[in-house]
Point group: C2
Chain length 384, copies 2
Amino acid sequence: MQNFTFSNPTKIVFGEGQIKEIANLIPANARILVTYGGGSIKKNGVYEQVVKALEGKTWFEFSGIEPNPHYETLMQAVALVKKEKIDFLLPVGGGSVIDGTKLIAAAVNFDGEPWDILAKHAPFTSALPIGCILTLPATGTESNGNSVITKAATQEKLSFGSPLVYPQFAILDPTTTYSLPPRQIANGAVDAFVHIMEQYLTYPVGAKVQDRFAEGLLMTLIEEGPRSLAEPTNYAVRANVMWAATMALNGLIGVGVPQDWATHMIGHELTAMHGLDHAQTLAVVLPALMQHQRAHKREKLLQYGRRVWNLNQSDEEALIDAAIAATRGFFEQMGTPTSLSGYGVGRESIPKLVDMLVKHDLLALGEHGAITPEASREILELAA
Amino acid sequence: MQNFTFSNPTKIVFGEGQIKEIANLIPANARILVTYGGGSIKKNGVYEQVVKALEGKTWFEFSGIEPNPHYETLMQAVALVKKEKIDFLLPVGGGSVIDGTKLIAAAVNFDGEPWDILAKHAPFTSALPIGCILTLPATGTESNGNSVITKAATQEKLSFGSPLVYPQFAILDPTTTYSLPPRQIANGAVDAFVHIMEQYLTYPVGAKVQDRFAEGLLMTLIEEGPRSLAEPTNYAVRANVMWAATMALNGLIGVGVPQDWATHMIGHELTAMHGLDHAQTLAVVLPALMQHQRAHKREKLLQYGRRVWNLNQSDEEALIDAAIAATRGFFEQMGTPTSLSGYGVGRESIPKLVDMLVKHDLLALGEHGAITPEASREILELAA
């Protein structure tokens, strides 16, 4: 096990009916900005619950934060925050709304062009406090310090991270996910699954607790993901998926172990160039990357196949083949195609995608830094 | 899954050589009290590392905190804290030193007799900040708000808990455990194992993540516990046991699930009356309790046997028998006898132990409140 530091200050408030707790969790005299997306929270009753819980408090709202949240949109929110002297941010929604609100929090007191926080990793020394209400289990942003933002003007998709933007609290009410479209549920489960794999499927360092936790989360998603599509109002199933997605990227399973993240980096280019959903790109890249990196990841692939999928082929290569096929099968079962062709993306796009990786200086990806642009090209060919 | 709130503010700093980090973690102008036990930290190099890291800071020391820390001893430390205007507490040791220091932290500004914090659950509104260096993986106290204290005068052993006494940070360096006597290593692994079982072996509520995490920790202790005795300086093994013991009782695996804790309650009487080590009492009580409660715990006993011990008997009663036998076998393998007779305690003690449970108002233990004094008597008979 490698040395590590772990700390996660976010208070989780989990379960049906918990939205009302924001009344106690937000400071009494706060000037609150409720941020949200396209308005689905007005159709599923969440907005009403928020309004009721905020009764007697001073609050404003900012809607229209889009998927892959746009820098340009968020800067409008920053202007509103300054004008109304907002001092507490309450994002209500999925990863995009929460990620976007983290940038709002960091940008408000930033001296200069806030895009530099993303483009130049410009440091910031304060951020507005955030508490969030999660309505789409997927990214883990509700209890971490990460954020991914897109500049619409240039289609650049960049990330930043800081302990200053951890939400102080996160409300997770599984019933808020009942009305989500199947594609978003599928994307969320696939996204969480691949978050776990990025921290697990590398090489062994004898970190048994982290391995067992990762395997437990993977098994939970494999069992509950398809059920969450088939039984949209099964509380226990939605609760398990929601909690698994949070635990997948709150830092815990990644402590003291090597991490990969090449699938994410290659996938980002696919979203930027072809508009695939984030999770769709992961479902395309990961199985191909597992195949391409099977020598480097050999021991963990065997462990993954045996423990997560209960495979017991005596031939190790056959076992690895079966583990990759099972992974692909899980994504397909969630309704998420696992090849470029499944999204109408042809082989002719591959050189352009590799060019973008080079342009973004992503020349040595993965836990060994061994995924060169040439290797990325081969992975994309395998994913064609 | 039941509704829950989870938050754990302790920063974990894990790994070899991390003790020096206290220089950065403790406020620069703090007046620090280093608390410790019988002086083993002066033999294994830990004290030297602490002294070096505190160079240039203002610090004092208080030694002699005993196992099952005495209220009387801790009140001497409180007097020192007041006299020297201490404003930061740095316990260095195992569960007793850290538990004891939590009481010091709470007692300093307490208006009245601090024993009331334990005996009457008297509220306190502030506590001195604590950062700890853990040298004995066992109780989980390094990242929770719990503390167990004994009043020597009356041999009362009582507990208190508060978010105010969570350590701000916990340094976990597995190499500090290399010099521990085998009995303490065994006790620590057994203690952590039973902490997990108290939160896991109840009845199913469909909480798949919590179940998988608990099972993963149990499997880790089963694999690494015996190795930690056989290979005292195997870093990876000691690291896994240390991290598993912390995760066993930092609140995470217990969220949203029913909990038992009857084994602990019955075990406390055994320590108080016969002086058995805490973990020894757990090793005696748990297998007997599993046997006695096998109807109430049936579904979880089957799941435990299948997932944790890989049992596959077609007869379910035989499978449960084997799961209980395997649990007993693990404790024995750790050198910890699992019957009262193994510690020279005869059946004639059982009525007196039950009388103490009644005296302490422990009339309805376990996740169903179904363990009456009569049931406790039967459990102790099974443990004879």
